[in-house]
Symmetry: C2
Subunit: 117 residues, 2 copies
DNA sequence: TGCATATCTGCAAATATATGCAAATATGAT
DNA sequence: ATCATATTTGCATATATTTGCAGATATGCA
């Protein structure tokens, strides 16, 4: 059964890269369009070196690509659909107990969007 | 910005749990319906204790629930849609370079389904 | 050239996860 | 009760990840 094993390993690698709150927020941030490292660092309230490391992790599996303009590196999602796909996982998570019904799901979506720039 | 931080942490937790090839295959296995631990262990070619630990991880965030019948524990996905959602990530992964176009995506889907029981 | 800004890389300590195996628990059958 | 089966739990070791910080590289401007 080599086929599934290979694919599941690749999928697990992607999940591993996304398995960090900062990187989840980073991907959602890039869901709105390309941004340079400093802008991302500011938006996320993180030191630039850390953002750079997170981006390196995402780059290692080509989840993001970069475009250099002068001394700034603008990053964007290789597959813009990824940001939306992540939000499709909202029904699976638990914020104060299981989410039952579309009403509570809407709650969580609002919670996510609450402080959007 | 507490809203997004909380949600992103929950999302990252889910990604962390799925960030293991065995658990990815396990979830896909349960996508076809409930199964008991031994059946899963056999299908995945893993020792039962390890499957049990993987299930405990999935259970810890209510990604699976169990039903006991005699000495067997039948597990199933709390949200059956999760199996399909994982497969939606196929366009994001790289099997021998980036996947370009629906043709290569179909390749990967076949690769996944290749040895299905 | 020299200086400031933007980004990246490397290191070390703390923390977390994976793996294999042994032992414990629970259920059902004789 | 005794025994076999099914599942879970615990422990020890190996490996990986996170974090903060320092230093290195690269670009643009005076």
């Amino acid at each position: 059964m080599p086929g599934r094993v290979i694919v599941s390993r690749e999928l697990a690698d992607i999940f591993k890269i996304l398995a960090h709150p900062d990187r989840v927020r980073l991907v959602e941030e890039l869901g709105h369009g390309e941004k340079d490292v400093t802008a991302i660092a500011h938006a996320l309230g993180l030191p630039a070196p850390r953002v750079s490391q997170h981006l390196a992790a995402l780059r290692s599996h080509r989840l993001v690509t970069d475009r250099r303009a002068g001394r700034q590196h603008f990053y964007r999602l290789t597959r813009p659909g990824m940001a939306g796909w992540i939000l499709d996982a909202l029904p699976f998570l638990e914020v104060r107990g299981p989410i039952e019904g579309p009403a509570q799901l809407e709650e969580v979506r609002k919670l996510w969007a609450a402080d959007h720039a």
